[in-house]
Symmetry: C2
Subunit: 860 residues, 2 copies
């Protein structure tokens, strides 16, 4: 007999597949003797069966009924018994948490008879508050009625009575509301609200199963790559009531700060309320530290449970709790979502606390954590006059954008290429699409654990919540900050680290990495095999990269040094010179510039490698295209415009990507490689530091090219100083260089795969002419661009061959990669697995590459 | 003790390295009891030693002197003995024949004393003719004196006497000439002509060694890739005299016709003359068949010897003979040079005569033989009024060109890109450079075996010799054909097959292949593994290819069908159409054209495969570039010019070679592939023959492209007739398609390597932008273009991988190659060795490809 239902004491945390995350953790906590409301879990198997057949088997139903019987014994109450009624909550719980995506119903087991009996024994306000919630949720979740019809009733009662909050309504109000709800239910369904508690229970369970396939849940799964076939478990649990009386309450708390990672309990609670009141952000709750004032012992008890769970799960916990009549229940625990910064800080703290190893710390941190931890910051002073307001710093980051007031407008604006800040009173799961597209989110209500905060933190995006002094007019699409009123499309800037909201678009600064981040990177460096170099062409950028942990420079694109306005003029004159004297003159000017650049970069390095690539692009890339610039140039060259245009035209190529560039250019214009060599060597002598000079020749396709150019370089260096140490290597950018790398390896000290060009030539299409890829995506021929993620099947195969064949010939050869895809997760995995020596990425991606290299090593 | 000298009876034909070709064959003939003048060979080792040290060792000299002693005994004569003098010839003879490049001297051993004693015993005219020849040759070869000074003496004597030919001079004349020669010799050298016969001998031997390094010999070796280190042997041989008396003569003959291959003795002789008189073409000799009239028995004897040698060497022989006083001596035999046509005809005959196997026949025929056998023919009638004269059809072919009168002018004109016919009275080795560059050669004197004829046949070039009624004025650079006088730069046309010379530039016709050629190709077809297909896009071309033996069609470039003037207009309109209706309209027009084309090609085929490639190039290749055509198009499209230019510009790409072409175009413009599919299938149904339809998709880089397009094709075909048999395959043109061919092989029925694009992408440069290769050639970085000969190291490696990986997955997959390099010798070798199924080449190269495929198989 298959077991379809598990009492909490029959399960454990490893049974997530069957019991879902929530069910498994409730079972685990039960086993840890933590005070969890008693209950049982209906397995995901039942969900799968139901979702296929739209019914459950007799046996499944029997097991659920049996579990109710056992539960009745455990709690000494009886389901549907008016004297001693057992009331139940029914909650979804999938293997992977999908917060807010599926449905729950509380207070199942209430009916007219039980209510009228119960109001004699306990607070009648509580009885009817529970009853009306049951009807409201059941109507919404099971029957699919518009919930506004029910909300309107409460609003009407509050208005009539002149009060603001639900808690200000008394027992009579709630009883009247309950009755009105029943009338609405009958009107909409044509039937009375069911008094049969088992009917309530089963319909609810089926509705939860159905909710697995609601639009929100499906789109959430798409977004997070969750398998549609998993299904959800259903947890049926004895109700405990945060709204039972004044000695009751409910809250959500993290064992550490999910925004910063600080090691202190962090969360919120509401007295005399049920859980959804906190999550929905309807009332702004109190900080968890305020719980001390309510009851120091309960606060301490909760803190101890939090620590116990954290030690047990070896991770920061996100817990829901309820206090019913001064008794603490834990409703749920799970590993808490957190910002990237918090994730890193917590991981480092857990290592230092001895709870996890460095390896575990590395494995826990995802690519997105590092990306989000490297948030940009605003370049502002404390007393900025553009400050509009300060809300809750719910998710860090600095984002600027035009304001939009609903999800659809935000999506439309983003599609037009705008920067977008979504502004909402509060968010609900319906807002997901807009939140996904927006650069930042501002809400008027809700705290750190509100839907808005949780979701935005999950996506690593900036969020300011509960900015309570703003007024949002959704209809007219305006927002007022005291005396400032903004309209749709106006720019604001959000600082998610401190909750500040600014008028207009602020400048941003480079991110910084703190001590814990550095410590974290040091774990990764201990573990990884791949060296992480940086692609950098300027002093400023190199400086940043070194702070970010770069272990060398893998690519200096020397042509970038010529694009600056004055320099490009000299460069153009050099290209177009017709006499040797003229050419030599401009070569000298350029040599001076280049030498200065190298000096400034070399000065930053010590005990590090710098890999300098000789000029790569075709010459005409440097030439002016518009008549005005051509005219200016013709004047300064003192030749007529037609003549100049002819010279420029002579340099044009049919397929510049496959033309006279890279080593071909260096061979046809040897004065360039000589000039660059002199600049490098003279700068090196000037700086006189311990630097490994790796001179790199681009676009080799044949060993003879390498030999020829190597000889030119050697001769030029020997003229200056034959004692200088340097290495000569090549880019592997053409398929042929990979295919003949066993020959190249005899002449080269190192290789660097230029994955960008290598991808172009391997596929036979250029990135600049790949518009057809849009059709490919549309028709599912390609799912992504090979320029974004390394093509393992084709390009990777060439890399593998080149690496294997080369090391056989030259075991000391150093092999790396410096293309754009080098920071891609699967690319780093691949580079680690085939045993490359280094990867080289742009400065901002250095920390990420360090992490991913370590993870790749651990996942080998 | 090393043996430096071999008597003829001590060697054999396999000792070419040591004895040279001539020496080895003289030895072989001696062993065959053929009447060869007795003698010995000084080995190539002595030459190598001499050329390094400029002397010979005592031992070498001793062995030569010993050999003389033995020779004296064999012939019962004594070297330097006036009573019974032994006279010798000294001839060069390298391993590989270098006709006319090195020097010989005859009549060594003659001096004043011997001459005056000898004239008492034999014809004094002969004695002094021999003596004066010795002095003349010795002066030229050993002393390096200008030979004109000696020629002038003879001319003076002939003029004085009023005769035309040397033979008309009598004994007194020749004695006087001899005395005059001795005076000239003394004047030029300051010494008497040496009476010491050993001094004559050794100085001659050294001079022959020296002649290995004369300019002519060096340039001949360069041209024919002969190793400079080989050196020449020297053959010292008893003189026999074709000029001994009226019963003497000398000749050169082939055992078969070297121009046509006909099986009959072919050659020429001169009575009362020495060998160089024939070769130099000074007197026009008589046909060998005339020898019967001189002496039937000697003619028969020679014929028998010729057959005997041919059977022994199993190849057509080129022989020199001398008749001395009615006795026949064979001076030399070697495998005869022949035209391509003769080579093929002889090979087929030898197979039919049972002398060689079909495999040997294949191995004997070189690429150049087939190329030259496919000479063009003139499109003329017999009685063409432009016929200027008819000479000897010395080397076949049809060539037109401007006339030039010396080697230098011919070379200069060729360098300017002109077609050149070199016109000479007779040629000498000094003319080699001009002969090499000229398209054809016309001479006034000399026959089939003259220098002019031999060299031009060797180079497979058209030659008309001995056009005796022309008058050449070298100084004024004019030539007179009876009443027509032409000047330098005028056009003539030479027909080497019949010796006709025409005024002006005649049209040429496609070559034809005769029955023997067909038989030869049938041997090749039996032997080879590779199928030979043709790349063909038109009915006319396909027709030719089938005559040439094409076994299928490997590539129909369907885009070529659209370049015709009317069609391209429709094609342009289709490309630029903005509405669906408009597009459909032009698609229909194009479909009709294409269907007609396919019908005409299918009609030519039966039991053959045709491989049709869908549209490949980027669309903008079809669009007009110049304003005028754009204007015309704008008028006919009824849109304004600016608008049209914009549409054309929208199709421009940065790197069209790497842009929206091939399968990418077919995916973005599916109407094209659908149209082409309909045209093919409807044509196929219309023709209804047994044809294998191979539909080929270009420029695949990913399996999904293939799947997608395959599906479109299948749907389109099913709409017409789902019962039709066809195959779908891909070009392998991108490195990635080769690297992922194990995936493609699951979907493809066949592959064709497009070596042109594959080369471009593998090297990362385009053929259109490869100007830099000129620098590469200059600096010896590349020796040839990878677009001319297949790059085995890079492209070949991809091919090998693709073939191996694909056959593992799909053992029945058919794999071929259809790029430009497919007809290259090394490419065919490679394709054979890796086991491709077919190669596909242009129609003219089909016979060549058939031969090379068979050779590749035999050379495996």
């Amino acid at each position: 007999m298959i077991k379809y239902v598990y009492l909490f004491n029959e399960g454990n945390k490893d049974m997530r597949d069957l019991l879902g995350g929530k069910g498994a953790n409730l079972a685990e906590m039960t086993n840890l003797n933590i005070n969890v409301p008693k209950g049982f879990t209906v397995t995901t198997e039942v969900c799968k069966y139901y979702n296929e057949k739209k019914k459950v088997t007799v046996e499944m139903k029997r097991q659920i009924e049996n579990a109710i019987k056992k539960l009745e014994k455990q709690v000494s109450k009886e389901f549907g018994n008016k004297e001693n009624p057992l009331l139940l909550s029914v909650r979804s719980g999938a293997k992977i948490s999908m917060p807010g995506m599926m449905d729950s119903i509380l207070n199942i087991g209430m009916n007219d008879e039980i209510a009228s009996e119960l109001e004699k024994k306990v607070n009648p306000r509580f009885v009817y508050d529970s009853y009306r919630r049951l009807i409201q949720m059941f109507s919404d979740v099971v029957m699919g009625f518009d919930r506004n019809q029910f909300e309107e009733v409460i609003t009407r009662f509050k208005t009539k009575k002149g009060v603001k909050f639900d808690v200000e309504l008394d027992a009579t109000d709630l009883k009247n509301i309950t009755n009105e709800y029943k009338r609405i239910y009958k009107r909409l369904s044509g039937r009375e609200f069911p008094n049969d508690v088992y009917e309530q229970l089963f319909k609810t369970i089926y509705a939860v199963f159905d909710s697995w396939n609601n639009d929100r849940a499906i789109s959430y799964r798409r977004m997070n790559n969750i398998d549609d076939a998993l299904g959800t478990a259903v947890n049926v649990q004895q109700m405990v009531y945060g709204n039972y009386n004044e000695k009751s309450g409910t809250g959500v708390a993290f064992s550490r700060n999910p925004s910063t990672g600080e090691n202190e309990i962090f969360g919120e609670f509401l007295l005399n309320a049920q859980g959804e009141d906190v999550v929905a952000g309807v009332r702004t709750p109190e900080k968890i530290s305020e719980l001390k004032k309510f009851s120091l012992s309960i606060y301490e008890e909760f803190k101890n449970i939090a620590k116990k769970l954290e030690s047990h799960y070896k991770d920061m916990q996100d817990m829901e709790f309820t206090i019913e009549d001064n008794k603490l229940y834990i409703l749920q625990t799970r590993n808490g979502k957190r910002t990237g910064t918090a994730a890193i800080n917590i991981a480092v703290d857990l290592v230092n606390e001895g709870l996890i190893s460095k390896e575990e710390a590395i494995l826990r941190i995802e690519k997105e954590d590092v990306e989000s931890a490297l948030h940009k910051r605003f370049d502002i002073k404390e007393d900025d006059e553009n400050l509009l307001t300060t809300g809750i710093n719910a998710s860090p980051g600095a984002s600027c954008g035009k304001i939009y007031f609903n999800s659809k407008d935000a999506v439309d604006a983003k599609n037009k290429g705008e920067e977008v800040i979504l502004v909402r009173k509060e968010t609900s799961p319906e807002d997901i699409a807009g939140m996904k597209e927006a650069d930042g989110l501002l809400t008027a209500t809700g705290g750190m654990t509100s839907h808005a905060a949780v979701v935005m933190r999950g996506m690593g995006k900036c969020c300011v919540c509960g900015a309570s002094d703003i007024e949002i007019d959704e209809e007219n699409k305006t927002i007022s900050f005291n005396d400032v009123m903004l309209m749709e499309g106006d720019y604001i800037s959000l600082d998610g680290s401190n909750g500040n909201v600014y008028l207009g678009k602020l400048n941003t600064l480079d991110p910084e990495i703190n001590e814990k981040f550095e410590e974290f990177l040091s774990y990764a460096k201990e573990i990884k095999d791949l060296d992480v170099y940086v692609n950098s062409d300027t002093e400023k950028d190199l400086c940043l990269a070194l702070k970010f942990g770069a272990e060398g420079v893998g690519l200096v694109r020397t042509e970038h040094m010529f694009f600056e306005k004055n320099r490009i003029k000299s460069f153009r004159k050099m290209i177009l010179a017709e006499t040797k004297e003229e050419k030599d003159k401009w070569i000298k000017v350029l040599e001076k510039y280049q030498e200065e650049d190298f000096i400034s970069m070399f000065n930053l390095l010590d005990n590090k490698t710098i890999t300098i690539r000789y000029l790569d692009p075709p010459l005409h890339e440097f030439l002016p295209k518009d008549d005005e610039t051509i005219f200016d140039l013709s004047t300064s060259l003192n030749i007529n415009m037609d003549e100049l245009k002819t010279r420029i035209n002579n340099l044009k190529e049919f397929n510049p990507m496959m033309g006279n560039r890279g080593v071909r250019l260096l061979i046809t214009r040897p004065e360039i490689i000589k000039m660059q060599t002199r600049a490098i060597i003279n700068a090196y002598k000037e700086v006189n530091k311990n630097i490994e000079l790796d001179l790199m020749i681009p676009l080799i396709s044949d060993i003879n090219e390498l030999k020829y150019v190597k000889n030119i370089i050697k001769e030029e260096i020997d003229k200056i100083d034959s004692e200088i140490n340097y290495k000569i290597g090549t880019m592997i950018e053409t398929p042929r260089s990979a295919l003949t790398s066993h020959k190249l390896a005899k002449e080269a000290d190192f290789y660097s795969f230029g994955s960008n060009d290598l991808t172009q030539f391997t596929f036979g299409f250029s990135r600049d002419d790949a518009n057809f890829l849009n059709t490919y995506y549309k028709d599912n021929i390609f799912t992504s661009s090979p320029f974004n993620s390394l093509d393992i099947d084709g390009v990777g195969m060439l890399m593998l061959y080149a690496k294997t064949a080369s090391k056989k010939v030259n075991k000391d050869i150093k092999i790396g990669i410096c293309g754009e895809q080098a920071a891609d997760e699967s690319a780093i995995d691949f580079c680690n697995n085939i045993g490359l020596n280094y990867i080289s990425v742009s400065s901002y991606r250095v920390p990420l590459a360090i992490l991913l290299s370590a993870k790749a090593k651990l996942n080998e």
